[in-house]
């Protein structure tokens, strides 16, 4: 019987090629999106799921509550471990410190490796919490003594090439010229996906031989550094409430006087291991591929769901519309003894076959989609994941669900046919379902319309963000960063000096990052007005005396500091207002308390954006390079070019790089165009825009194909009516209008429904931006017109053909 069902299903698919094509396209698009997005969900949700007792492993993190909001730090104070390690709720507590060495040497083989990644100074409990497999060395006494290091197999083979793993034990690695360590163990790299990415584990006591010695000894309660990480493994019967209350006690006991005065609160939190992968508040250890985002996954799931739903709607619409064509077969089958259940089984089988065909096509398409959506797809995700049993089960469940969603209703409609009526050709069932089909068509076009409006408005906002004046010059300026391992100021000054000989360069300035960047440096400053104290956070920007000139930042009053090392401040308008100076001129000569010292304000600049337009302009001060004896703030050489014509740019960059090679012969030049850096603020928005473009295109495609199917069906049914009308004198336009009208009304209703939904969604999205574009009326009007135009083209393709047909042909068949 099943074979018979599939046979007839296949013949039906072949017989109704256009409808089958429309159904398969719709379902294939929906399924492809679902497959890829499903894989992403599987990929992201299977991070760190292999650790022994992983559900009992937590990272302790620190939240700060202030009047200005909540701030999050993935680290803890160095003092915390000592205060909690005896707590009976913990099976193990392990602290480690992330510190990237400048270099590591295998002197015996004369090998040097610069800036090794994923190096931590870990205490002896690290390997009690994370269950690594030791392939050489001892894990019982691991990391007990200073100057020991344990390597992953991958790292060990890199540092000691062509050496047996067992022979590496006892060998020496030297970090930063002076820290000698002995390799005491080698562990397997984790096989599963993990955010615990570390490769080198230096024993914690070795930290005392580094620049961090003071910090490690002092263990200051009021210093929280995200490099200082603390993990715990809870006992099976641990009391979470008691841990929380202990954390609260510790935070209160050790609260800073200033924090109490300004109402700041510190909260230690337990972050589950599985949360690390997603929680953007605390971040991950390897940012190469960015952090997974639950909200992005959620949005993607919605997109897949909508596309799948659109495909299912096409299926329902076309199958119920076509139902009358199947009526005879149903009548005969019922007469010959088929039960309703058997008929439903048959139709569900047909649907399943179509879904299977779509699924096979989707699998092929998914490979391609993974490349197209590389911006969204994690780098480690590959097509191979389809082999995972749980993914296979997931795919089967999805296919069954789609079959039920698409096939169940048409199966009910079809199997319900009255045998006597269908055999007498007294049918009305297809027409009775017109109301439902209209509703589903409106639903489809509502989704497509919401996507169109959202695409236009997101595009408009991105345009606004990119074209809005940042308050400083962004074009034809390039920032060249000195090598990370290079601490000396002399070399960067030498570099700047040498650059002056390049004629294409207009001006040069040394400083920290450009005026707007992803990084921020914040400190607190105070102003005393009589007995009243104004206290607030200030953004710090470091630059030399030419910095303002180069970026063309307007000086409203005063001047720039006299030289690069004098302790004077140039504040912005926002700071001037925050600290309640009446006017820019009023601020000049007044002081602000900074690091226990009153510093004079010598200049006030106009406001400019310090980061993306998501944030407001904050109080800011520009400062020189006071601590250059100890370290320098000047990391970058900002170069303003005379012209940014492609030819000039190419020449200038070549010369700039040549000079760089002269000064830093061993390093690659790291450079960034300021306008590109600004554009990068909106990477996320551009991603959303790309996603929306695709979703819009695909939803229009599926909806219009569905509409075309319905139009073909309706027009074919009305072919005699068209003939009669033509004979009676109706014009081509009149007939086309008659045929198009009922469909265009549906699209227009969809527009009315979609507009407030789209407005609400976009308005919500825009709340993330301090500066936003208007939700203009014309966007809605344009998108409505565009949708109606699309629909009209699709409908007319068929209706004009029908209206043009010779009425004699259609009437002769009577």
């Amino acid at each position: 019987m099943i074979k018979n069902y599939f046979k007839i299903a296949w013949r039906n698919i072949v017989k109704h090629k256009v409808f089958s094509f429309i159904n398969v396209i719709g379902l294939t698009i929906g399924l492809s999106a679902s497959f890829v997005i499903g894989l992403m969900i599987y990929y992201d949700y299977t991070f760190d799921n292999f650790h022994k007792d992983g559900d009992r492993i937590y990272r302790i993190v620190t939240d700060f509550k202030e009047s200005e909001g909540e701030f999050y730090n993935s680290g803890v104070t160095l003092a915390l471990k000592g205060a909690i390690e005896e707590n009976s709720n913990f099976e193990a507590t392990s602290e480690f410190y992330r510190e990237r060495p400048m270099k590591v040497e295998n002197r015996a083989s004369d090998l040097e490796f610069k800036l090794p990644k994923f190096v931590i100074f870990a205490d002896q409990d690290y390997f009690k919490i994370f269950d690594y497999k030791f392939i050489a060395g001892d894990n019982v006494k691991a990391l007990h003594n200073p100057n020991e290091v344990i390597l992953t197999k991958e790292r060990a083979l890199k540092y000691f090439p062509n050496t047996e793993v067992s022979e590496i034990i006892g060998k020496t690695l030297v970090y930063n010229d002076s820290v000698n360590t002995k390799v005491t163990g080698i562990v397997e790299n984790f096989k599963g996906r993990t955010d615990i990415v570390f490769q080198e584990f230096i024993s914690y006591p070795t930290l005392l031989q580094t620049r961090l010695r003071e910090n490690i000894i002092k263990k200051n309660w009021n210093n929280t550094n995200s490099n200082s990480q603390l993990f715990v493994k809870l006992k099976a019967n641990a009391d979470l409430a008691s841990i929380k209350s202990r954390f609260k006690e510790l935070a209160t006991e050790h609260a800073d006087e200033q924090d109490i005065k300004y109402g700041q609160e510190r909260i230690f939190q337990l972050q589950p291991l599985e949360d690390i992968h997603f929680n953007e508040n605390y971040g991950i250890y390897d940012w190469t591929n960015g952090q997974a985002s639950k909200s992005l996954l959620q949005n993607l799931v919605f997109v897949a769901l909508f596309l799948l739903l659109l495909g299912c709607i096409n299926f329902i619409n076309l199958n119920t519309a076509q139902a009358t064509q199947r009526a005879k077969e149903i009548g005969i089958r019922k007469t010959l003894g088929s039960t309703r259940k058997q008929l439903m089984g048959q139709f569900m089988g047909e649907t399943f076959l179509l879904v299977i065909i779509s699924a096979v096509l989707s699998l092929l398409l998914s490979r391609w989609l993974i490349t197209v959506f590389s911006d969204f797809v994690p780098a480690g995700l590959s097509f191979e994941l389809f082999k995972a049993p749980i993914v296979v089960v997931g795919v089967i469940i999805l296919l069954v669900l789609v079959t039920i969603l698409s096939g169940f209703y048409p199966a009910i409609v079809l199997s319900k046919f009255n045998t006597v009526s269908v055999l007498k050709n007294h049918l009305g069932v297809g027409d009775k379902k017109v109301g439902l089909r209209k509703f589903l068509t409106v639903f489809q076009f509502t989704i497509a319309q919401v996507f169109i409006i959202a695409t236009l408005l997101v595009g408009k906002q991105i345009n606004y963000l990119l074209s809005k004046d940042m308050g400083f010059k962004t074009d034809a300026i390039v920032s060249v960063y000195k090598p990370i391992e290079e601490g000396s100021l002399e070399k960067i000054e030498l570099y700047a000096e040498k650059l002056t000989s390049i004629p294409e360069i207009k001006s040069i300035s040394l400083g920290g990052p450009p005026p707007a960047s992803q990084s921020s440096n914040i400190t607190d400053m105070r102003r005393m007005i009589d007995d009243e104290e104004i206290y607030g956070d200030m953004q710090l920007l470091a630059g030399d005396t030419k910095y303002l000139d180069l970026f063309e930042i307007e000086l409203l009053a005063g001047r720039v500091y006299r030289n690069d090392t004098v302790r004077e401040l140039v504040i912005n308008e926002a700071a001037r207002k925050y600290f309640r100076f009446k006017s820019p001129e009023d601020a000049i000569g007044k002081t602000l308390l900074y690091e226990k010292e009153y510093l004079p304000i010598v200049g006030v600049t106009g406001d400019f954006h310090q980061s993306s337009l998501r944030s407001d302009i904050r109080p800011m001060t520009l400062r020189g390079d006071w601590y250059r004896g100890m370290w320098t703030y000047f990391q970058a050489t900002h170069i303003s070019l005379k012209s940014d014509s492609p030819e000039n740019l190419k020449n200038s960059l070549a010369k700039i790089e040549n000079v760089y090679k002269d000064v830093y012969p061993e390093s690659d030049m790291r450079l960034e165009f300021v306008d590109e850096a600004v554009e990068r603020f909106y990477k996320r928005e551009k991603k959303i825009s790309k996603l929306l473009n695709w979703s819009t295109g695909l939803s229009i495609l599926i909806s219009c194909l569905g509409l075309l199917g319905l139009v073909i069906y309706t027009t074919n049914r009305r072919v005699k009516e068209i003939g009669v009308r033509k004979v009676l004198g109706a014009s081509l336009l009149q007939i086309n209008t008659l045929l198009c009208k009922e469909f265009l009304i549906l699209v227009a209703i969809a527009f009315i429904v979609a507009s407030p939904i789209a407005w609400y969604g976009i308005n919500n999205w825009l709340q993330d931006f301090a500066y936003k574009t208007n939700i203009s009326f014309w966007v809605f009007l344009n998108s409505g017109c565009a949708m109606i135009l699309f629909a009209l083209i699709v409908i007319s393709a068929k209706t004009l053909q029908a209206a043009n047909a010779n009425p004699v042909d259609s009437l002769r068949s009577e």
Partner: protein, 225 residues
């Protein structure tokens, strides 16, 4: 085999009620060949649908093999139908998407006959109907007469006790029509009960008894043999 007593069937619209069968009573014995005649709208097809358990009467009694079946639910009717009744329609009612073989095979599938046995039975009946050489053709590739022969083959493949034929020659020319009637006679002679609705006096003469109807009632009954 069949006994109907005071059988009634009404069709209602919002404003009008039409009487299709008006207290109709008659019986059919096993092995009989009965023709039902009458003008269009007299209730012939309605009667056939009720006898074929495709439709419910609104009143009266319908006994099949001595058992009252008028109150049967869909499942029981379907069971009874597929094991006991074969249908032949004026418009053949073959499924366009299935081949000749598959169309004839269909009733056997629904009665749960195993594939090997199905093949044997279908081939035997196609041979008998002299349509074997067309077994892999689709209905639209056959002539009207051939299509009706397939329809008859399908109706008898399950060895039903009763065949209901609704104007079986209505769409055929006289040669093809006579061939189909010959087939029905053969079946009847082999023991199958046949009830045939027809407008054709010529076809009706093949039967044992002609029941004439008007306005849902039996008006005359002629016994021919």
């Amino acid at each position: 085999m069949i006994q109907i007593t005071d059988l009634e069937k009404f069709y209602r619209t919002e404003e009008v009620q039409t009487i299709a069968l008006n207290k109709l009573s008659f019986g059919v014995k096993e092995g009989e060949f009965v023709a039902i005649m009458g003008p269009s709208g007299c209730g012939k097809s309605t009667l056939l649908n009720i006898l074929g358990l495709l439709d419910d009467p609104d009143g009266g009694s319908f006994k099949f093999n001595g058992e009252e079946v008028s109150g049967y639910n869909e499942r029981k009717r379907s069971e009874l139908r597929k094991h006991n009744i074969g249908f032949v329609f004026q418009s053949f009612n073959l499924i366009d998407e299935l081949t000749v073989f598959e169309n004839v095979e269909l009733p056997l599938i629904y009665t749960g006959v195993k594939p090997a046995e199905r093949k044997k039975k279908v081939e035997a009946v196609l041979e008998k109907m002299q349509i074997m050489h067309r077994r892999n053709h689709f209905p639209q590739q056959l002539s009207g007469g051939q299509q009706q022969r397939v329809a008859v083959a399908r109706a008898v493949v399950n060895n039903p006790k009763l065949i209901l034929a609704d104007e079986p020659t209505g769409n055929l020319d006289s040669t093809n029509g006579n061939e189909v009637m010959d087939l029905l006679i053969d079946l009847n002679e082999a023991g199958t009960t046949i009830i045939m609705v027809t407008h054709s006096e010529h076809d009706a003469k093949y039967s044992h008894r002609i029941i004439r109807m008007l306005d849902g009632q039996k008006v005359t009954e002629n016994i021919l043999a």
